[in-house]
Amino acid sequence: MPELIKVGMADLKVGRNPDSLISYGLGSCVGIALYDSLTKVGGLAHIMLPDSTQARATDNKAKFADTALPVLLEQVLQLGGVKSRMTAKIAGGSQMFNFAQATDVMRIGDRNAEAVREVLKSLSIRLVAEDVGGNYGRTVELLLDTGVFVIKTVNKGDNRL
């Protein structure tokens, strides 16, 4: 039986075909899916914040874009992934509430997505698809048999990356 592996907020997990990795209810957080299409292994991280150097509590590496991605990559490599084949897909980074006085705090979704793109670039992982922004929540699922990244929303339909 294929297993559905749940990834919580500020959490990361890896798995292999035929399992899938799912994370529910992303808002301003960003879900990052790494996948190797040959060995059919992959990982999913659900990060909350862009940058661990700006934060006081950094014990949980999965919480930040800059610390989560290296850990996620390492774990996917251990499962048999090869970095040159690795592709990334990302989703989330929305702004749930619209305020007239939008501060940096409110724009955290944008900053998360931007940070993830930069960290991927610095790790030389190809970003092949993204579904980010807007003002709505997303549930994301990485299907490890195909590498398809399924994004489910309440009012904006589903998207397959």
């Binding site: 907020m9 209810g25 808002g27 957080c29 914040l49 509430f97 709505y136 309440v154």
Partner: protein
């Protein structure tokens, strides 16, 4: 590594916070009862210290459909207030506030959204009145903002702010329900990092 400030609260500090929550939520429940002209039962406020990722479970899990009214609190102790209702409760509440028959609303129009935001505004205002009274601080709410979506996505707005300084949230949580049980809601007050100390010291229970 610094310890989460919420993990080192003394029993006396927790009691003081619970009492504030109790009176503030009592005020808010009275206001709600007047808006919809119905008796409201309110649970004794729970003071929970939860890992951030478990906060969405309080309202049924991160993919539960909810309506959320969010307000920022300005003043010496900046905080966030979030009033969360399961979708059906939000519809029922709008029916009551707009004087429609129960079960009429199936999607929110602009007028319904305004009504929900105004209710959130009144609840937050009455809660803050109590908090201001005890702390002698002037605490003012921002305009309300509304979202109808997955609980995890809505809560992420406040959890992210807390995530910068810790891995735990102090959640003062009250459940409201009408007698017929057709409206249930959760009221969250989440002090910004640092604000908790300000509140505790004005209450005279700082370390």
């Amino acid at each position: 590594m610094e310890k989460d400030e919420v993990l080192s609260l003394s029993p006396m500090q927790l009691d003081a916070l619970r009492e504030i929550g109790n009176i503030g939520a009592g005020n808010a429940a009275t206001a709600l009862s007047q808006i919809i002209n119905r008796k409201i039962d309110m649970s004794v406020p729970r003071l929970n210290i939860l890992p951030l990722s478990e906060v969405p479970d309080v309202v049924g899990g991160p993919d539960t459909m909810v309506a959320g009214v969010y307000l920022r609190v300005f003043g010496p102790a900046p905080s966030s207030i979030l009033f969360l209702l399961p979708r059906d409760s939000a519809f029922a509440l709008v029916d009551m506030a707009m004087g429609r028959e129960h079960g009429t609303t199936e999607v929110l129009n602009a007028m319904d959204e305004s009504a929900l935001m105004e209710i959130g505004n009144i609840l937050a205002g009455s809660f803050l009145n109590a908090l201001s009274f005890f702390t002698k601080m002037t605490l003012l709410p921002s305009l309300p903002a509304l979202a109808m979506d997955m609980a995890g996505a809505i809560l992420s707005v406040i959890l992210i702010q807390l995530g910068q300084v810790g891995d735990y949230a102090l959640v003062i949580e009250t459940e409201f329900a009408t007698e017929a049980n057709d409206v249930r809601g959760h009221f969250f007050l989440i002090p910004d990092p640092g604000s908790l100390n300000v509140i505790l010291s004005t209450l005279g229970v700082s370390e």
